[in-house]
């Protein structure tokens, strides 16, 4: 009897559920600014913008951490460098100077975002090439060390404001859009997030993504199959850094300000908390985690200035009892598997 049951193929349920959930989520995100206006809560729009930007950063970190098994504690470096690229390019633009005597400044959003991703990608290539020779705790520590080095570098760079950071008087320009308008900027960030999440979904589903998952489970096993783990991990780390750089560039635009705060190790920690809160190694987990943390921060700071005292237990409860973060919790509530 038992044997027969084993031979019977288990029918694979067609995965309409996740697709539907994604569609509903997308629709909700599109409707959100209009709903906020209608409800007389326009301050929700910038809040949601912040959540989206952090979602991009957290999703990028999740590619390295969740899918690649690389616990990077230095993603603030890429997030911050993305912000500084926007700030520095804007500074050269307003001063009408060539940066390093070579690069003209710009306030074009498409250019600054691309430049931020390139810079963050290059930085990730260097940091990754060195850090990925280690693993485990050493990897965590070395990525943290690199990020802190960059933090102190920018603290001491007086040309770029040092401790005080750089003010970006106006948001970057995108075609004829009024990026100063909160709703417009929200949709710019939503578009960026959509592209990012779509891209990550493609990567995870590709052969590259499968190999990455295999490496996470056992590097040795992958090596014995003729795959050099180092190159795959480095590639994933660079893509992850570029995503964080994109988020940083958007954040600098959103805040119209960039400072070493964006490079601080607590920012790396925040990104990690978002990933863990939402669900490590899930596609939409980082979005949920980022939204949850941004909302919690807003709600709790209105209540007490020691909001982190409340956040800690909440995080503990989520980690201990949801077995896979908010994403897993939602899935179970939805009656799915």
């Amino acid at each position: 009897m038992r044997n027969e049951a084993m031979v019977q193929p288990v029918p694979v349920p067609v995965a309409y559920g996740p697709l539907l959930a994604t569609l509903v989520l997308a629709l909700a995100l599109v409707v959100l600014p209009f709903a906020a206006q209608a409800l007389g809560q326009p301050s929700l729009v910038p809040l949601a913008t912040r959540a989206l930007i952090y979602a991009i950063a957290a999703a990028s970190l999740n590619l390295a951490l969740g899918y690649g098994g690389m616990v990077s504690f230095g993603h603030a470096a890429f997030f911050g460098i993305g912000g500084y690229v926007v700030g520095i390019l804007y500074q050269s633009f307003t001063a009408d100077e060539l940066l390093f005597g070579l690069i003209p400044g710009t306030n074009q959003l498409l250019l600054t975002l691309a430049a931020a991703m390139l810079a963050a990608g290059f930085l990730a290539l260097v940091i990754g090439a060195l850090s990925l020779r280690t693993s485990g705790v050493q990897f965590i520590m070395i990525t943290l060390a690199f990020a802190q080095m960059l933090f102190f570098l920018f603290v001491s760079l007086k040309a770029y404001g040092g401790d005080d950071g750089l003010i970006i008087r106006r948001r970057n320009i995108l075609f004829g859009l009024d990026t100063r308008d909160d709703t417009v900027f929200y949709f710019v960030c939503l578009a960026a997030a959509a592209i990012m999440f779509w891209g990550i979904a493609r990567i995870v589903g590709s052969r590259f993504g499968m190999v990455l998952a295999g490496i996470r489970q056992s590097e040795r096993r992958m090596a014995a199959m003729g795959i050099a783990p180092y190159r795959y991990k480095l590639a994933a780390f660079v893509i992850s850094g570029m995503g964080a750089g994109l988020a940083g560039a958007l954040m600098a635009n959103y805040l119209r300000f960039v400072s070493p705060d964006m490079l601080h190790w607590t920012k790396s920690g925040e990104l990690m908390i978002m990933v863990i809160l939402g669900g490590v190694g899930t596609l939409l987990g980082p979005l949920l985690g980022a939204a949850a943390l941004v909302v919690l921060e807003t709600v709790l700071t209105a209540w007490t200035e020691h909001w982190q005292l409340v956040l800690g237990p909440i995080l503990l409860v989520v980690v201990l009892f949801t077995q896979g973060g908010l994403r897993a919790l939602l899935r179970r509530l939805g009656g799915g598997r």
Partner: protein
């Protein structure tokens, strides 16, 4: 094709292999026999570069393999089906097969997903299932299929039938015979003398890290008593 001479290996201070010799020719099926703890898996790990040998020679197609990384050795055309199967549990059956698939040596008649499914129809039935939900025998088939998808010149099967039901074992043996008929070179590590005598061309017996006996299946039949004392379970 693969030639191992005077191989010595150690885990830290404790030496496990003292003098292992092994020869495998094109299209041959060769076995590595011996009781548990005699160094069979250590030999495989040394060949694959998963453990750096202390001494001796390992060469594949005339080129030395010592000091090469596991991935380079695999890329030269050795496909390993490791002991304990070791499929990737969070990938589906199909993903396990295609993730590492390659035809690096430009085999004229490469393995495809369809051909692996032909060899193991059960894998096709379970193509979209997570590998961790498979039974032991199916995981073994998947591990073999995964190795075949890299189109290896030499396939190494480490304890491929250990812990499997007799029916499943028979299925794996018949698949190995099919592969042999196709001219696939195979190194088998197993304890099932009766079947191995029939399938394999030549045998090497390990005892305490040394190759103590080698010969053809006919010679094995003649020396049956001696060999079964070495291998005897």
């Amino acid at each position: 094709m693969l030639s191992v001479r005077n191989l010595q290996s150690a885990y830290g201070a404790s030496q496990v292999l003292f003098d292992v010799a092994l020869e495998i020719g094109e299209g041959e099926v060769v076995t590595l026999l011996g009781r548990n703890g005699m160094g069979k898996t250590t030999t495989v790990r040394s060949i694959m570069g998963l453990l750096a040998p202390k001494g001796g020679e390992v060469s594949f197609d005339g080129a030395p393999l010592q000091a090469a990384t596991p991935e380079t050795i695999a890329r030269r055309g050795i496909g390993l089906v490791p002991e304990g199967r070791q499929v990737f549990p969070t990938l589906t059956v199909r993903e396990n097969l295609v993730a590492t698939a390659a035809n690096r040596l430009r085999a004229g008649d490469p393995w495809t997903l369809e051909r692996v499914y032909q060899l193991f129809p059960r894998l096709k039935e379970r193509a979209e299932q997570m590998a961790r939900t498979l039974s032991g025998g199916e995981q073994q088939m998947l591990a073999i299929g995964r190795a075949l998808m890299t189109n290896p010149k030499l396939l190494i099967l480490d304890e491929a039938t250990e812990g499997l039901a007799p029916v499943i074992r028979a299925e794996i043996w018949s698949c190995i015979e099919t592969l042999k008929a196709r001219g696939q070179s195979i190194l088998l590590i197993d304890k099932n003398l009766q079947v191995l005598k029939r399938i394999a061309d030549r045998h090497f017996v390990l005892e305490k890290g040394r190759t103590v006996w080698s010969g053809t299946s006919a010679a094995l039949a003649d020396d049956a008593e001696l060999v079964s004392r070495y291998v005897g379970v």
